[in-house]
C-alpha cells in the first residue's frame, strides 16, 4: 500500500491543488486507469479547496491499494451544521471574499460525491470535518 500525506492551511488557495497534483503523478506511475485518476483528482481538488475556503487547517491522506484509492480529508474548522443541506447543489456558506476568487458556487460536496464511488462525512460543529472518499478500480 502507498500512503501520501499533505497539509493544507485555511485560506491558502495557492497550495490547494498540491495534494491532487501529487496524487495524480503517483497514480499514473502505478498505471491506474486514467478515468479513475480523473475522478480522484477532481474530487480531491474540490476537497482541498473546501479546506482552504472553510477550515483553519487540514490534512489530506491518500491510501492506494491494488484495487482502491481511499482519500481522507480531515480538517479543524467550523464544521458543518447541516450535512444534508451542504450536499445540495448550489448551497454554500462561502464568504463573499471566497466567492470573488471564483469558488463557493455550492458545487463542492455534490461534485465530490458524483466523482467518488463512496463518500462519508463526519462533522462536529466547532471542531471540524472529516470527509472520506473511496474510488474503486
Amino acid at each position: 500500500m502507498i500512503e501520501l500525506k499533505f497539509n493544507i492551511e485555511g485560506g491558502d488557495f495557492d497550495s490547494a491543488g498540491t495534494a491532487s497534483s501529487e496524487t495524480k503523478k503517483k497514480l499514473q506511475q502505478l498505471n491506474v486507469d486514467s478515468k479513475v485518476i480523473k475522478r480522484t483528482v477532481v474530487a480531491l481538488y474540490e476537497g482541498e479547496v473546501n479546506i482552504a475556503a472553510h477550515a483553519y487547517r487540514g490534512v489530506v491522506t491518500v491510501k492506494v491499494s491494488d484495487h482502491q484509492i481511499l482519500a481522507i480529508l480531515k480538517d479543524e474548522g467550523p464544521g458543518i451544521a447541516d450535512i444534508s443541506r451542504a450536499m445540495m447543489v448550489g448551497f454554500s456558506t462561502a464568504s463573499p471574499k471566497v466567492r470573488e476568487m471564483g469558488f463557493g458556487a455550492g458545487m463542492g460536496l455534490p461534485n465530490m460525491k458524483k466523482n467518488a464511488d463512496d463518500l462519508q462525512i463526519e462533522s462536529t460543529p466547532g471542531v471540524g470535518t472529516t470527509v472520506t472518499m473511496s474510488f474503486v478500480f
Binding site: G17, S20, S21, L30, N31, S34
Partner: protein
C-alpha cells in the same frame, strides 16, 4: 521500452554531445538521461517539443530530413510551408523575392499551408457547435501538445478536437487541385518545410490511421539559408497566383492567438511547453471551467518560435501581423469552385488518439507499488539537491531509474562522498565510478572545454 511505432525526429550526434546537463534540465517529460557521458532520449517519453535542442550549447541535437535532390523524382514539386517561413525574413526582402527564390530552388508550386484555412475554420466551428459536453475543447494543431496529452494526460484525450492540422489540409488541397487539372498522383511530390521537430513526427507517424501524403521533409533552418542565398535583387517576376487563396486569418494562424481569436465565446491561447504543462494540470482537475476553446502551442510565441526557425520570434510575429493587413479576411475569400470540400474534410478526421502512459513504473499495479515503495525508501538517502550529476534530472527521477534497474546508488556523487567519509568505499573506486558515468578522462584539465574560450553560457 517503446510500444507502438512512434517516429521521433530528434536525434543526438554523439560526437558533438559534450555530456553537460542542459537538455536534461529543460525536458518537460523527464525524457533525457546522461549515460556514459552522452545524452540519450527515452523514446517513449519524448514529445518532440525540441526544448533539448534549443538548450544544447554544443548543437548536438539534429533532425532527420530529406535532401532537396529528391525533387528530381517528381514532375510537380510542391513546397508546403507555414506562413512563419515568410515572417522570419528581414523587411527589405519582399514576399515576391522570397517566392521567386523558392521557385529557383526547384519547386513548381508554393503552398503556404494556411491557404485553404477556411475549411478548417468551418469544420472546427461546426464541431464546437455540436460538441457541448467535453468543453473546453483543445486544438490538435500542435503535435507536441497532442503527444503530451497522450502520454501524461490521457483523461483529456476526449477534449482534443479530432481535426487535423493545416499542413494536412494543404497537402490534400494541393493534391486534389493538381489531380483535377490532370496530374497523376505519382508525379506529385509534396515537401513539407517544417518549423519544428514535432511537425515532422506528426507527418511521419500521424496520430490517426491514414498514411501521410507528404513525400519529404525539409528543415526550415537549412531551407531558410538556401532561400536567403537564392534571393535576387533585380526585378522579380510575378508569383501572386501561387498565393491566391491566402487570407488574413491564414497568415496569423500559426502565431499566438491565431486560432483562439476566431473560436467560441471564451477562448484561451497558451504558448510555451512549460506553461502548457501547468495548464493541463489544472484542466485535469476541472480547476479551469467555462471555456470553449484552448489553443496550446509548445513553443514560446507559437510557431514563430519554432526550434527550426532562424528569425527572431518576436520580429517574425510582427512581420506576419503587418503582412496580414494586406490580405482580405477568409469571409471575403471564396475557395475554388471545383474543390471537393467533403473529400477534404474526410481526410482531416483524426480517427483515434490512443493513450500511452509513459510514466508507469510497471504494467502490473502490485509490482508498480513495490517499486514506488522502494523508490520512496531510496529517496531518504539522496541529498535532494537535484544537481543532475548522476545523469538523471532530479533525485526523484534517479530513485525511479534505480528501481527500474537503470541506475545505481553510486551514481549519486554526494552519496559516494558520504561513503568515502564513512570508509565504506575507497577514493580510487569512487573516482572510477565517476569516470564510468561521465566518460574516461572527463575530469582532466582541458583548455578546449566549453566555457574556456569566451563562450560562457
Amino acid at each position: 521500452m517503446v510500444k507502438g511505432v512512434i517516429h521521433h525526429a530528434i536525434q543526438i550526434d554523439e560526437a558533438k554531445c559534450i555530456g553537460c546537463i542542459h537538455c536534461m534540465r529543460v525536458c518537460p517529460t523527464e525524457a533525457v538521461r546522461i549515460r556514459e557521458g552522452k545524452a540519450m532520449i527515452i523514446q517513449e517519453r519524448c514529445i518532440d517539443c525540441g526544448q533539448c535542442m534549443r538548450a544544447c550549447p554544443a548543437k548536438a541535437f539534429y533532425i532527420k530530413q530529406n535532401d532537396l535532390k529528391m525533387l528530381q523524382d517528381y514532375k510537380y514539386r510542391i513546397a508546403l510551408f507555414p506562413a512563419v517561413m515568410i515572417g522570419q525574413f528581414p523587411d527589405k526582402i519582399s514576399e515576391e523575392q522570397i517566392y521567386r527564390a523558392m521557385i529557383d530552388l526547384g519547386f513548381t508550386h508554393l503552398m503556404e499551408v494556411e491557404q485553404p484555412i477556411r475549411i478548417l475554420i468551418d469544420l472546427t466551428k461546426e464541431f464546437l457547435q455540436e460538441n457541448q459536453t467535453s468543453k473546453p475543447c483543445i486544438s490538435a494543431f500542435c503535435p507536441a501538445v497532442v503527444r503530451l496529452i497522450q502520454i501524461k494526460y490521457p483523461s483529456l484525450i476526449d477534449s482534443i478536437i479530432p481535426i487535423k492540422a493545416p499542413h494536412d489540409l494543404a497537402a490534400h488541397f494541393i493534391l486534389q487541385s493538381l489531380m483535377n487539372e490532370g496530374a497523376k498522383k505519382e508525379e506529385i511530390g509534396i515537401f513539407y518545410i517544417t518549423p519544428c521537430a514535432a511537425k515532422i513526427s506528426a507527418v511521419k507517424s500521424p496520430v490517426g490511421d491514414e498514411p501521410s501524403v507528404v513525400s519529404g521533409i525539409i528543415s526550415m533552418s537549412d531551407f531558410y539559408g538556401k532561400v536567403r542565398q537564392a534571393i535576387k535583387w533585380e526585378e522579380a517576376g510575378d508569383t501572386q497566383t501561387q498565393r491566391k487563396n491566402l487570407t488574413r486569418e491564414g497568415i496569423l494562424w500559426s502565431t499566438s492567438r491565431g486560432e483562439s481569436s476566431g473560436f467560441g465565446n471564451r477562448a484561451i491561447a497558451i504558448d510555451g511547453i512549460h506553461s502548457v504543462v501547468k495548464f493541463l494540470d489544472r484542466l485535469e482537475k476541472d480547476e479551469v471551467k467555462g471555456f470553449d476553446f484552448l489553443e496550446m502551442r509548445a513553443c514560446d510565441q507559437s510557431c514563430s518560435g519554432g526550434i527550426l526557425m532562424t528569425g527572431n520570434r518576436f520580429t517574425t510575429t510582427e512581420r506576419l501581423e503587418q503582412r496580414s493587413k494586406k490580405y482580405v479576411t477568409y469571409k471575403e475569400k471564396e475557395l475554388p469552385d471545383k474543390l471537393d470540400k467533403s473529400a477534404l474534410a474526410q481526410h482531416l478526421v483524426i480517427d483515434e488518439i490512443a493513450p500511452h502512459n509513459a510514466f508507469r513504473l510497471d504494467d502490473d499495479i502490485s509490482k508498480a507499488m513495490e517499486k514506488m515503495s522502494k523508490a520512496q525508501r531510496i529517496i531518504c538517502f539522496l541529498p535532494g539537491i537535484d544537481c543532475g550529476a548522476c545523469g538523471a534530472p532530479n533525485c526523484q527521477a534517479l530513485a525511479e531509474d534505480m528501481v527500474q534497474g537503470q541506475a545505481k546508488m553510486s551514481d549519486c556523487i554526494f552519496l559516494q562522498q558520504r561513503w568515502q567519509n564513512e570508509g565504506k568505499i575507497g577514493v580510487e573506486k569512487a573516482f572510477l565510478n565517476l569516470e564510468k558515468k561521465w566518460g574516461e578522462g572527463r575530469f582532466n584539465a582541458d583548455c578546449n572545454k566549453r566555457g574556456r574560450r569566451n563562450e560562457g553560457f
